[in-house]
Symmetry: C2
Subunit: 445 residues, 2 copies
């Protein structure tokens, strides 16, 4: 008798599988205000690790963290014409504060280009102040009509980088460096998602940018997800806010700018890239819990042994949790850790103790086998590295298998039904892009 599946199978209904996984693995709940989300501890742990890895890369790129207010005077947004047009339909507006109606309503930031330029225009005086490289970790609000947890939420968490440079070339090179060395490196080498690095068409560009670089990942259903973007803003905001500097030649010049962002949407991308019908699979380099050591039954010797194994692995630099909740049935706990996608489970029962072995269950390739307890601190780090590489290889193989070269709109629509189509821009153009959009197919990069 086959046991009932824990999750709706992916092949039956991918969006429902996604929602099931988020509920059962306790990643997030819907919030009370439409489109908001509650990120539960295990889901937040994934985001915290993303923040750590990204923050280190952002600092290596020379940017410093700061914090700008989330309340922006409504008038700021209207100063850059394309920007306000792009964001006006998504704004949340505060009209009352401290028990009174406000003289000027304030908006909750949908992004911070405007307020940041207001301060850049004060801080930047001369070429010596450039480049100015700032990042912030913050919440932003974009009112969402078709919300989906992690992917499209009214409030989400993100980092937004904002920089000012003396020249077009310097700004362009910086946006490109962030694109490759921060986002690309993190997504490929930590998230194990074989993203394609490219640029958006004019139609899909950020509101106020002259060029938008994007990283697109292929999800388990063959669809694309935008995982992060890096914009060249040209001098659009600089002119709107008069962000100027005195050049070496003694002339006032507007700065050239970039902005770049990545968000909790990456948690959704992680789930849809690596999840399977048994739950999530977390890449070891990202995992907040790389290994769980489970006591199968409540036996003092067993509990002592799992704690000993946990301590030894922790000393070896592994992120480990010991599960000795022997009052909860073992089967239920094993399914739960599988759902949560912890890469390695080490299971110890009374019979294992006698043999000096433990069962090593691997979530990523699947399967389990007995191993010597003494060998664990040697074995586990190697297994984790192997599994990290395997996830990336699977991501690449899926993308390659489901991407076809096409030369016409008709072929592109067909390709999009099961994966991606690759078409030369010369065969497509803005008109072809518009036709694809009518068929529900988007040009990603």
């Amino acid at each position: 008798m086959a046991k009932a599946p824990v999750l709706t199978p992916q092949a039956d209904d991918f969006p429902r599988w996604y929602q099931d996984l988020i509920n059962k693995a306790e990643l997030a709940d819907n919030g009370p205000v439409r489109g908001t989300m509650v990120i539960r501890p295990y889901g937040y742990g994934l985001w915290e690790r993303m923040q750590q890895e990204m923050d280190a890369r952002i600092k290596r790129a020379g940017a410093q963290n700061a914090y700008f207010p989330m309340f922006i005077p409504q008038s700021y947004l209207t100063r850059e014409a394309e920007h306000v047009e792009g964001f006006a339909p998504e704004l949340a507006v505060v009209t009352h504060g401290g028990g009174k109606e406000l003289e000027e309503p304030v908006v909750v930031r949908p992004t911070s280009e405007t307020i940041i330029n207001e301060y850049f225009s004060k801080w930047v005086q001369s070429y010596r102040d450039l480049p100015l490289l700032i990042n912030q970790w913050a919440n932003v609000v974009r009112w969402e009509l078709r919300p989906r947890v992690f992917l499209r939420t009214t409030e989400f968490l993100w980092q937004e980088g904002h920089t000012a440079h003396a020249t077009y070339e310097d700004a362009r090179a910086y946006a490109d460096m962030i694109h490759r060395e921060v986002y690309g490196d993190f997504m490929v080498n930590v998230l194990a998602i074989d993203v394609v690095l490219g640029r958006k068409t004019a139609r899909e560009r950020f509101a106020g940018a002259i060029n938008t670089l994007t990283l697109e990942g292929m999800m388990g259903d063959g669809k694309a997800l935008q995982m992060g973007t890096s914009h060249e803003l040209g001098q659009n905001f600089a002119k709107a806010f008069h962000t100027q500097y005195l050049s070496g030649e003694g002339k006032q010049e507007h700065v050239w700018q970039t902005s770049w962002g990545s968000s909790t949407r990456m948690v959704g991308g992680l789930i849809m890239s690596h999840g399977d019908d048994n739950g999530l699979r977390v890449p070891p380099r990202l995992a907040s819990v790389q290994v769980v050591v489970l006591a199968i039954k409540g036996d003092d010797a067993v509990v002592a042994k799992v704690r000993e194994i946990g301590a030894a692995l922790e000393a070896a630099g592994v992120r480990v949790v010991v599960d000795d909740r022997t009052d909860v049935p073992f089967g239920r706990r094993a399914v739960d850790w599988e759902l949560k996608g912890v890469p390695v489970r080490i299971e110890v029962g009374p019979r294992d103790l006698e043999a000096g072995t433990a069962m090593l269950a691997r979530r990523i390739p699947g399967g389990k086998e007995p191993v010597s307890i003494d060998a664990l601190t040697q074995l586990v780090p190697a297994v984790l590295e192997e599994d990290q590489a395997l996830l990336l290889r699977q991501s690449r193989e899926r993308r390659e298998a489901r991407t076809v070269d096409v030369t016409s709109i008709e072929e592109a629509v067909e390709a999009a039904a099961t994966g991606w189509g690759r078409i030369p821009w010369a065969d497509l153009g803005p008109e072809g892009e518009a036709k694809l959009a009518e068929q529900g197919v988007s040009v990603r990069c």
Copy 2:
């Protein structure tokens, strides 16, 4: 001829000194919406280090990070009577979202007890789910009529812990543990502020709590600053939100709760505790920059040497910055690092190189002396530890010198003019507290 002071002297006008320091050390700016603030990179670096140190202690206390939406339905706040009464005058209200008027207005969280209880009531089923220990790092909004940067701002950054327990005793012990082992330990041993641990009077309690523990620090002007609070909430929110569990005896019981918070106000406390007429003094254990190595003049050999010293100190585990901006006058850079309160400056010029020495300038005790460059990696960590201890000793000595035992309202008012008065509660009572309030004197703990 005495040079003009960089800051308004503390003795002339302490509040103005505070504001001067924040501007000149580039810690923060006022935001465009009244009462908001822009935290600049150096100020944010102080907050990031506070977060790191606090977060490690919070995790050791067993709490896990999570994230709840900042938008709360207005109706949630009204469920706990004292809570809504306390916060209603300070709320920011969103009435429009996505271009439409909302059916029910939402408030921006002033704190999250209500929304968190809504979810605790779903997540907690049985005694096995307790204690439930959650923390979040977030922004909150309390409309502020008399704003002051870092101390009282409309939007501020903080951590808020929220826990649910099976018994009164367990909740009480947890609030007390956070009070001592998270807040007390961090403030004394990292911030080097000799805080007094106590409890608030009924009048000063958090809106909805049955007991509020507080940590009060004495600032440079002899006034008190509340540095963090830890509340026993009893069953007030549990009853309002029906947060119940099935006990071991099979009965439905309301949980007992705690909440506890500390915020960017601590940055203000740090400034007012340790700052002097030359600027900030940052305790070495907190400092994001513990040592700056300065090249006095632009000479290739000097620049090479300061970089070498910087690398050696970094390898020795010191948080170090190399300042080789020799196109900026040395005097201006030295004053700037002094303003920013970096504990140790190592200054190297061409003559020092010949002698194999550098000037070691100590911000905390003051003074400078030549030291052998070869001895720096040994010397600097010891100096940093000594300076950490010195700051704490100075904080303690000030508090002791400016606290007097009093037995009457009159004496208490007099003591508050220059410092603190210590009065037995039996000599004061709620009536005495009200009389003191008329004189502008508050009972802190």
